[in-house]
């Protein structure tokens, strides 16, 4: 009992938020694309690009420069994605895979070309995001440690969930976006430029993934490691599927993954080999997707 209480303490909840935030930011981007009728599988590469750009930007121009660079880099790569998928009507899966590979190659190349290092880059000049303390909320048990003491991007991510929800369901732009995703021909006959809507969705998702990357490399640590997104972009893709492209559902899915991540991290400190705990998020993701998708398929058989 005592053992269990030690395992599930406030720090665990706090690190849940930390682990969930990059997933959440990227998944919100994926959600927007999904609603616009594009399966964005480049989240991984966009996030990795963001993480690198954040470190590089922070190294040269301070933390805001880092976040700005991450957003711009994410948007630029996503604009390239849009150019192929929306402009040239290329296969979004193939282009997405190519972009993921490009991001992993390019970040490693630039790491050496710009900073002359291999593997990981750490430097005192890289400024981290720091943490924000919420004076009143801090004192509340459970909620306090859950909510207080994070980087400001964590709070931004939570606010973005609400913003995305409002725009998607209560703003003309959201209505148009959903229409484009559901019936592009119908949207086009009503004078909505479907290509522009889809390109915009991709670029916004790129910016969100850039923020996700910034949280990854400047949030709780201040360094860049080769391939540091380590499959989180793919988990974000799954979170979009699990949350049925609804902001609240996606947020819940991301929090669950964040919790698994932080639980795995915690178990590592207890003589459980890290390789086994690192498996946890992927196994949980697969099992979750299997349970929910097969149940949905059953329901679909009975009702539309």
């Amino acid at each position: 009992m005592n053992e269990l209480a030690n395992l599930f303490d406030a720090a665990l909840l706090s690190s849940t938020m930390r682990f969930a935030t990059p997933l959440l930011l990227a998944a919100l981007g994926g959600l927007i694309c999904e609603r616009a009728g594009i399966f964005n599988i480049a989240l991984e590469g966009l996030m990795l690009t963001g993480a690198f750009a954040a470190v590089a930007g922070s190294y040269y121009a301070g933390v805001l420069g880092g976040v700005g660079a991450a957003v711009v880099a994410g948007a630029a790569l996503a604009a390239l994605y849009a150019g192929f998928v929306v402009g040239l009507r290329s296969d979004e899966i193939v282009v997405g895979i190519a972009l993921n590979l490009l991001a992993s190659g390019l970040t490693v190349f630039l790491l050496r070309a710009l900073f002359g290092v291999k593997g990981a880059f750490q430097d005192p000049r890289i400024e981290g995001l720091g943490s924000v303390r919420l004076p009143l909320i801090e004192a509340i048990p459970i909620v306090g440690p859950l909510l207080s003491g994070h980087s400001w991007l964590v709070y931004a991510a939570l606010m973005l969930v609400a913003i995305v929800w409002v725009v998607l369901f209560h703003h003309p732009l959201g209505l148009r976006l959903r229409g484009v995703g559901e019936q592009p021909d119908a949207a086009a006959t009503l004078g909505v430029n479907t290509r522009r809507v889809q390109a915009a969705a991709l670029i916004v998702s790129g910016m969100l993934c850039g923020l996700a990357g910034a949280q990854l490399s400047l949030g709780s640590v201040t360094l860049f490691v080769e391939g540091m997104s380590a499959g989180r972009g793919w988990i974000a893709v799954v979170a979009v599927l699990l949350g049925r492209a609804h902001p609240v559902g996606v947020a819940v899915a991301c929090l669950v993954f964040g919790f698994t991540d932080s639980l795995g991290f915690r178990l590592q400190g207890r003589d459980i080999p890290s390789q086994l705990t690192e498996m946890l998020p992927y196994v949980v993701t697969l099992i979750g997707l299997a349970i929910i998708n097969s149940r949905r398929a059953q329901q679909k058989g009975l009702q539309p």
Binding site: H170, H171, G174, G179, Q183, A186, T189, Q303
Partner: protein, 513 residues
């Protein structure tokens, strides 16, 4: 209301020309429609009706000619331009967002806003007002996915009215409607015309023209054949304009003694995605040497019935017997082995692999034949012989059997499907809308192929939305309505009966004879 020469036309087309590679789809078309007039645009498939309406809606730029609205020349670069100028289009395939509400569908792209956000209350109010004003019954808060087809069409009309359309174009608006819904639509269109809207509807059903239109313009071969006042015309006269001669003589169909039952369906039940009985206790049989027709308005269970027989959909109850063997639970491969062949409705998605060659498409059914494969290895020479033989026999116009199917015209594609399905000399052939979107020559040859199967003492089940096709080919006709067979008609009784099509139509609408 009859247009008078003093009134300026609401819409005028002058010398519209539209060419496609190898086809002159619109050849100097002139058309003038008065405000408040209902105009029918009549013509056979391929006469150029749809092309003309697409030009008018800004989907195709015309190669020559001009469009005038209220006497002012227009240039439409896109549908948006046409909408702004006051043209509204109700497409044959509805352009709606099923997951959104009626109000959201109507205001989409021109949303009322409050505090920068979508004002749903205002949207619902405006839609309700419009519906009230023109007598269209529809609930603004309902989700489109939950609406029946007739209501969806009203949503489409509301969309055009919300955008202040003065000229409404409806492309074959009655094709998907039940007779009650059709009457409702006619009432709405008359109301719209009486309030000064100009209505153009495209059709090839003569009776509708007589019932609804003030004037009819008949297109043939891309040209205007005639424009007549409906009051001074007759269905026969319109038909002569449309076809260019009197009605076709009947296909030569020798009565044939029918043999044993080759296909039997007993109390078949098929459920749709919602668990509703889309096919409800259907029983019938098709005997050797006959063509049995399956008639009815689309969506009354014919497709699901055919899919169940073909093995693409599993029935919830009932039995299917092929040549007296129960095949209800067997695989598609086993059914084909037992002598079933199937020309599916959607040749592009189901009946063909478009990116593959003609040869690859032709050998699908015969791939187990010793001429084509020996011990699992394809015989190149055998395939060459087999496919070139089929190409010749079925008069498929291609350069080479290695050509990809997506280069072929609709008629040639359908010939590829037909050739492949008949190549194995099936006992039972199911043909579903076999001449839809196919040119006249190809349609004729496909009809001859079906009759040949019958005359060789095998069985054909023909599902078609064209009553004329059913009447011309079938020995017996089954009419489906709401998942049930509501009538069985014998060809000999219907022969030379001028009301035959009307009889089928009535049954298909749930009426009694």
């Amino acid at each position: 209301m009859v247009a008078t020469s003093s009134e300026a036309p609401a819409l005028e087309l002058r010398g519209i020309v539209k060419r496609f590679p190898g086809v002159l789809a619109n050849d100097h078309i002139d058309l003038a429609v008065a405000p408040g007039e209902i105009r029918a645009l009549l013509g056979e498939n391929g006469a150029g009706k749809t092309t003309l309406m697409r030009v008018l809606y800004g989907l195709y730029p015309p190669d020559d000619g001009e469009i005038l609205l209220d006497g002012k020349a227009q240039r439409f670069r896109s549908p948006t331009d046409a909408i702004h100028a006051g043209i509204g289009m109700v497409h044959q395939h509805f352009m709606l967002f099923p997951s959104l509400t009626v109000a959201e569908n109507v205001v989409y792209g021109r949303e009322p806003q409050r505090w920068g956000l979508l004002d749903r209350t205002a949207a619902a109010r405006q839609v309700a007002e419009l519906a009230e004003r023109y007598g269209l019954q529809v609930d603004p808060a309902a989700r489109v996915a939950d609406l029946p087809v007739g209501s969806r069409q009203r949503v489409e009309i509301l969309k055009t009215l919300y955008r202040d359309a003065r000229v409404l174009i409806l492309d074959e608006p009655t094709a998907v409607l039940t007779p009650q819904e059709r009457q409702g639509l006619f009432q709405i269109l008359r109301e719209l015309a009486s309030q000064g809207k100009t209505v153009i509807f495209i059709t090839h059903k003569l009776q509708e023209v007589m019932d609804l239109a003030d004037h009819a313009t008949v297109l043939r071969g891309g040209m205007v054949e005639a424009t007549v006042a409906v009051a001074d015309s007759s269905p026969e006269a319109l038909c002569r304009h449309m076809v260019g001669r009197d009605l076709l003589p009947q296909l030569a169909k020798v009565p044939q003694a029918t043999g044993e039952s080759l296909l039997a369906v007993n109390n078949l039940v098929v459920l749709d995605n919602t668990g509703r009985r889309i096919v409800d206790q259907v029983s019938f049989e098709v005997r050797a040497g006959e063509i049995v027709g399956l008639a009815g308005v689309a969506g009354n269970g014919q497709s699901e019935l055919v899919a169940a027989i073909a093995g693409l959909r599993s029935p919830a109850a009932g039995r299917i017997l092929l040549n007296q063997d129960d095949v209800t639970a067997t695989s598609i491969a086993a059914r084909r082995q037992a002598g079933l062949a199937y020309i599916p409705e959607d040749r592009n998605r189901v009946g063909l692999a478009l990116a593959a060659s003609v040869a690859d498409n032709l050998i699908l059914t015969g791939r187990h034949n010793p001429t084509l494969t020996q011990r699992g290895v394809l015989s190149q020479a055998g395939i060459e012989r087999y496919t070139t033989d089929l190409v010749e026999r079925f008069d498929i116009k291609i350069a080479s059997v290695r050509e990809a199917v997506d280069h072929l015209s609709g008629g040639n594609r359908q010939k590829v499907v037909t050739a492949r399905e008949l190549a194995q000399e099936p006992l039972v052939l199911i043909a579903e809308q076999p001449t839809q979107g196919v040119d006249v020559g190809a349609a004729e040859s496909i009809h001859h192929n079906l009759l040949a199967v019958r005359d060789q003492g095998r069985a054909v089940l023909l599902s078609s939305a064209e009553s004329s096709e059913i009447l011309a080919l079938c020995d017996r006709i089954l009419v489906m309505f709401e998942g049930r067979i509501v009538g069985e008609l014998l060809a000999e009784e219907l022969a030379n009966d001028p009301a035959a099509e009307a009889t089928i139509g009535l049954l298909a609408a749930g009426g009694e004879v």
